[in-house]
């Protein structure tokens, strides 16, 4: 069975600092990997996704993530965060197109000045 572990429930950082949000998954088959962002009282917005090809994927708002098959990880990074990046971030996995996603429990990123 697939599962997703987001290793940090909360990550506080200062503005303009770099940040990494960690995500590990378990699956016995090939997977598709996603990061979503959720601002308060809103739905989820897709940040980026890995389907195949280059293991480094770039998304919106300056975020990027690297797929590491040997470590079964898909960590999200941003070199310099802004106050507006404060939100909850979800990592998700699926193994087949058109099927439901398995989500991690989320990481709350808090950016302060």
């Amino acid at each position: 069975a697939q599962s997703v572990t987001q290793l940090d429930s909360q990550v506080p950082v200062f503005e303009e600092a770099p940040v990494e949000l960690r995500c590990n998954y378990s699956s016995s088959v090939s997977v598709y990997l996603f990061w979503y962002v959720q601002y308060p009282n809103q739905g989820l917005q897709l940040l980026l996704k890995y389907l195949s090809g280059s293991t480094l994927v770039k998304g919106i708002n300056g975020f990027e993530a690297e797929f590491n098959k040997s470590q079964t990880s898909f960590h999200l990074r941003k070199p310099s965060v802004h106050i507006s990046d404060t939100a909850e971030y979800f990592c998700a996995v699926s193994h087949q197109a058109g099927t439901a996603l398995i989500f991690g429990k989320g990481t709350t990123l808090s950016v302060s000045s």
């Binding site: 598709y32 996603f34 979503y36 009282n41 809103q42 739905g43 989820l44 917005q45 897709l46 996704k49 389907l51 979800f90 699926s94 197109a97 058109g98 439901a100 996603l101 989500f103 991690g104 429990k105 989320g106």
Partner: protein, 112 residues
């Protein structure tokens, strides 16, 4: 372009009352549709998904049900709400053979 709508945005209901939440998708045909519930600190839990009209798969046994009366309409219902039904309900869609899910704005339900 495609858009997904959910209503109502917020709902406060007494225990034991019925529920109907609606989700509609525009700009695509024959989408796969999903209902998730997000409870505080517990991430997203898949409740139901549908690959076509009248085709519903349930992931979690509970007092909720789902229906898909039209191609781009997905409804979440309950005959009698429980306190534990409180949460943020999110609808999502994918293309029939697509990998990426797109989410609606959500409905916040508070059962008192």
């Amino acid at each position: 372009s495609q858009t997904i709508h959910q209503w109502p945005a917020t709902l406060v209901q007494p225990v034991g009352s019925p529920l109907s939440l609606e989700c509609t998708v525009e700009g695509t045909s024959n989408p796969n549709l999903y209902w998730y519930r997000q409870a505080a600190g517990r991430g997203l839990q898949l409740l139901f998904y549908s690959v076509g009209i009248g085709q519903i798969s349930s992931e979690v046994p509970q007092n909720l049900s789902a229906s898909r009366p039209q191609d781009r309409q997905f409804i979440l219902s309950s005959k009698k709400l429980l306190l534990s039904d409180s949460g943020f309900y999110l609808c999502a869609w994918t293309r029939n053979s697509g990998e990426t899910q797109y989410f609606g704005p959500g409905t916040r339900l508070l059962v008192l």
